[in-house]
Symmetry: C2
Subunit: 215 residues, 2 copies
DNA sequence: CGCGACCTTGATTACACTCAATGCGCGTGG
DNA sequence: CCACGCGCATTGAGTGTAATCAAGGTCGCG
């Protein structure tokens, strides 16, 4: 991992998320850290403390079972914030999916940042609970449809949608195998609902059809 | 729904959760509200604002798909708090499972309660993300085992465990059908892992076996 | 005591998983 | 610039777990 000490750089971000605070007060000076593909940002069991904002690239948050089964609970794209925990320990792993730039915010002991963190925590809670519905009650097509629509929305509806993650990541996020994800992509392509300009680049042709499928 | 205006009553709660604040400051006077079994506490789409603490009884938080499929994202037992939202709208339904007493906290506009709410929101976030692993990557036996261990822990390890909810509620929480839940209970009973003193009262005989199954 | 809601059990089906082989795309090195 | 190799993705065949459909059984309450 290589750490820049610049305090501000041009943002390659194409995120259209509602603007997040560019800095948190009272935050200590935040270096920009660079993580190559696959690099660990933090591990389950590690001490938590700072939190993190994606400048460019993408991050996966996940948990493992003893036998290696993996559940990705969230992806974080440019502009999004993660890493806050209920107690002082990380309950999940965080890894860079691709080359990723991350701003790390640390706080003076005693600083009260709850006012800034609460909306982010509540947003994450709502997202997680909505994802429970997908995993608990939707079939493979519905899951993939919901995922594509979510990615589209988080990229501001810009076409095509860029998927920074592999089919395996998508499977581990949706509770499906890589093969099932692939088959659903193929079916959606055959039906003319989506078009794949490349493996990681999806164009939604029939938005309404996808919406219907997602419920 | 019937509302008492007593500001303090004896608590039938048997929860051994870490003590939650008995009152939030600066909260307005909180009446105790009584909800009979099945009563709606709030609905998806309703305006949010106050939040809620279970005094006795149990609550289910859920979401519906258009065709009626239901996912329960959380149960809340005595002592637990729920109802806070990312924006001013409820994204879920909340219903009393049984006869339930709930304290409703409302706040003066402008009051900053983020310091008190943040730990609760973060706890909920961790719980939801852990449940994602169960729904995404565990089979029926593992799901039921994890559920029973969770209920046991939240009741302080007291035996037997009281299940305030129906098999259907359990199924909708675990992403299973009522039949599958029933079959798994039967299998666990036949194996001598649990004992059912009644339908809603479970004794964990082989705690270790259950723990092994839950992962 | 009888009814109705809830639960259990059985038989069959279906959807996604597993195992296996092939295909594609990209980076590297000749 | 092309060929090779490797990682990732697709496609196919067969299997298995949980869903569905259906029939009883049990519990609790009026």
């Amino acid at each position: 991992m290589h750490t820049y000490t610049t305090s501000r750089i041009a943002l390659p971000s194409r995120s259209s998320q509602p603007a997040l605070p560019e800095a948190f007060e009272p935050a200590l000076l935040q270096p920009l850290s660079f993580f190559p593909a696959g690099a660990e940002i933090y591990a389950q069991g590690e001490k938590a403390g700072p939190f993190y904002q994606v400048e460019f690239g993408a991050v996966r948050i996940y948990r493992l079972l003893a036998d290696g089964r993996r559940q990705i609970s969230a992806f974080h794209l440019a502009g999004e914030t993660f890493g806050f925990e209920a107690d002082s320990t990380h309950h999940f792993f965080a890894e860079a999916i691709n080359a990723t730039g991350i701003r790390v915010f640390r706080f003076a002991t005693g600083a009260d940042i709850s006012r800034q963190l609460l909306p982010l925590a509540l947003k994450g809670l709502t997202r997680a609970q909505e994802h429970l519905l997908v995993l608990g009650r939707q079939n493979a097509i519905e899951r993939v449809a919901a995922f594509l629509l979510d990615m589209a929305e988080r990229q501001g509806g810009l076409q095509p949608i860029e998927l920074p993650m592999s089919r395996m990541d998508i499977g581990d996020y949706l509770g499906l195998t890589i093969e099932t994800v692939s088959r659903v992509f193929s079916r959606l392509k055959d039906k003319g609902v989506i078009r794949l300009s490349s493996l990681r680049s999806v164009e939604i042709v029939k938005h309404d059809a996808l919406q219907d499928m997602s419920e």
